[in-house]
């Protein structure tokens, strides 16, 4: 257990370093892009008043103090005020958070639920025609740009067939501060196309990964020995082979969850999905620095947390990493 604790501590420490670096970047953006005073006061404010405001806000202090103050604010959950909407940034983002997280989650579940079986199938039966179909689909998924897939879907299922809504989240239900679209019919219908669009790339990635790992693992001695022991195909394929492909699959899927959140920007734009990505894009148009930098910090935080969880999952899956148990005999 000591090794486990040390491992976690080390990872948490690394995570903190990463977050410090990102917050410094966010601060630099805050500091040097645009002039906050100009954003806050009217045209007719005198130079003296501006200077006084500057002094009062601490903008003349040494930069390191300003950074520390920014850090202090951020740690306390004070991310500043949006230039564009004059509302608190954290409130703005928290409003948008559920939409993005639900979209990313549905996309990830879809990518896993379809990608792993497809990868297993193509790995086990590389020569069957269905495997070739999967391979072709995955090639399309990797090479077609996200917005293109999205627009095609909108055109076909939204405009031509009229089955699915082409924009927005549909009806949402509030559960505490969380607003979910997954509990209403229109919400569920609305999430299908965006999640498919967002998850398509992940799906092909996972499928290809599982396929190549399966092919690799099926050649190993322990699979041959498992067959020689007379184990059923099911036990060999799913008990022994699939589990050995899990470590890389977990890594990639985990890391991809981070990029799902980050890349949701494009999908959210195509489908006018009211998530953080759309907010971020609007913020860029208005040079709304507090929103932009907070979004940066938030996305980085997601990446860091996901990485941490992925590392811990390794630990659970692969006993060889639990090196604290002695190498006996």
């Amino acid at each position: 257990m000591a090794a486990m604790a040390a491992f976690i501590l080390r990872r948490v420490f690394q995570a903190i370093i990463v977050m410090l670096v990102v917050s410094a970047l966010a601060f630099v953006m805050f500091k040097f892009v645009g002039d906050p005073i100009a954003q806050m006061v009217g045209q007719d404010t005198s130079l003296q008043d501006r200077a006084a405001l500057r002094e009062r806000l601490g903008l003349n202090d040494p930069i390191i103090f300003q950074y520390l103050r920014y850090l202090g604010d951020v740690i306390q959950g004070d991310f500043g005020i949006s230039f564009r909407t004059a509302r608190r940034v954290d409130v703005l983002l928290v409003e948008r958070l559920p939409a993005t997280l639900e979209l990313a989650l549905v996309a990830a579940v879809f990518a896993l639920a379809a990608g792993v079986p497809m990868g297993v199938y193509t790995g086990l039966y590389p020569d069957r025609w269905l495997s070739r179909v999967f391979q072709a689909v995955s090639l399309a998924g990797i090479s077609l740009p996200t917005f293109f897939i999205g627009i095609l879907l909108i055109l076909f299922f939204g405009v031509v067939l009229g089955w699915l809504p082409t924009f927005g989240r549909g009806e949402t239900v509030r559960i505490g501060w969380w607003s979910t679209g997954l509990l209403t019919l229109s919400g569920l219908k609305s999430v299908i196309m965006p999640a498919f669009t967002l998850g398509m790339f992940q799906l092909t990635l996972i499928m290809r990964l599982v396929r190549s790992e399966m092919l690799e693992v099926l050649r190993t001695d322990y699979i041959k020995f498992a067959r020689a022991r007379g184990l059923s195909n099911f036990a060999v394929h799913f008990g022994h082979a699939l589990k050995n492909t899990l470590v890389p699959v977990i890594t990639i899927t985990g890391l991809q969850l981070g990029s799902l959140i980050a890349f949701a920007i494009i999908t959210e734009t195509v489908f006018q999905w009211p998530g953080m990505g759309l907010l971020f894009l609007q913020a860029i148009q208005f040079a709304d620095i507090p929103v932009m930098s907070t979004y940066l910090i938030l996305v980085a935080a997601f990446f860091v947390v996901i990485n941490l969880v992925v590392d811990l999952l390794y630990y659970v899956v692969d006993p060889r990493l639990r090196l604290d148990r002695s190498l006996a005999t």
């Binding site: 041959k224 020689a228 184990l231 036990a235």
Partner: protein, 321 residues
């Protein structure tokens, strides 16, 4: 027929690999048998087809390799053309296997208890706790010290020799009547090899299990095998009782191999006193495959292929006899 039926009978087995440049015949028309409880040693240079023969018997040839001809029979019943599912029931239960690199034969992600229990329960109706008790017996039988403490360890927590004992326990879990042991000690420390061979020999004698023991180690053959088959370029050069083959080798290739009776732990290659190398599968000469290297070659060897014929105590495929 008066003679008791052999446990395993291989007749005219041919194994081929379709490749882009034509079909390679890796095992070319070999026949032999193994009696119940008997240890058949199989020797020969690297690439002679020893592993392929073993894999074919247990039905695990890696594609695109395939059996192109001949028959394999267990207790007189053909097993070379069985559907996958029927062959699966024979694997582990009737014919066990230990492969060339036993160190990687265990799934690194599962405790050995799980690997033992799943094997036991695949072949016998047993509750998980009964199977666990049986797993413990097996570990004891293969000489794992403090077996009850080691049952729930992972493979990486064992040394090479101990892992090898676990592999043997797994191969013997369902009491098969034949074990294909393909160089079971090659990957181990020399000091441990003899122990493992002794263990295998003792367990198989106790249970009346027959063994096809593939090895490069003539010392092991001399001590362990009842009969020995010498393979060369996908064919059997000579097969017979171990004493006859070792002491009165007939085939010039066997002669070369047995140039001196080695002590345990000396691989064949170091003793080979034959010039040249075994031909590639694409370049096997007409007539006797050994003719380019044979010190006693004559006309007939270049044009006609010799079949196995009795000579002295053994069967030899050489025109000299």
């Amino acid at each position: 027929m008066a003679a008791p039926q052999p446990l395993l009978q291989v007749d005219n087995l041919r194994i081929e690999f379709p490749t882009r440049r034509g079909t390679l015949l890796a095992v070319d028309d070999i026949s032999f048998h193994i009696d119940p409880g008997e240890v058949l040693g199989v020797v020969g240079e690297s690439g002679a087809g020893k592993s392929l023969t073993g894999a074919a018997i247990i039905g695990l040839l890696d594609p695109p390799g395939r059996i192109a001809g001949g028959q394999i029979r267990l207790d007189g019943r053909r097993i070379d053309n069985l559907p996958y599912e029927q062959m699966r029931r024979i694997r582990g239960k009737e014919i066990g296997a230990i492969f060339q690199d036993p160190l990687t034969s265990l799934n690194p992600l599962y405790k050995i208890s799980r690997q033992l229990v799943e094997t036991i329960r695949t072949h016998a109706e047993m509750s998980p706790s009964q199977a666990r008790a049986r797993a413990l017996e097996l570990l004891d039988a293969v000489g794992i010290p403090a077996a009850s403490d080691r049952l729930d360890a992972y493979p990486h927590e064992f040394s090479g020799g101990m892992r090898q004992r676990v592999v043997i326990a797994l191969a013997l879990a369902a009491n098969p009547r034949l074990i294909i042991a393909d160089e079971p000690t090659t990957a181990l420390d020399v000091s441990i090899q003899a122990q493992i061979i002794a263990l295998l020999k003792q367990l198989c004698r106790d249970h009346g299990t027959a063994v096809m023991l593939v090895t490069h180690d003539m010392g092991v053959i001399a001590e362990t095998a009842d009969r020995v088959a010498v393979m060369y370029a996908g064919r059997i050069a000579e097969i017979g009782p171990v004493a006859a083959v070792i002491k009165q080798a007939r085939h010039p290739y066997t002669h070369g191999l047995m140039g001196s009776i080695p002590a345990i732990g000396h691989p064949v290659e170091q003793l080979t006193q034959i010039d040249g190398a075994m031909p590639r599968l694409t370049e096997i000469p007409k007539g006797c495959a050994f003719n380019p290297r044979c010190p006693e070659v004559f006309d007939k060897c270049l044009s006609h292929r010799p079949d196995l014929r009795p000579a002295g105590g053994s069967d030899v495929s050489c025109w000299l006899f």
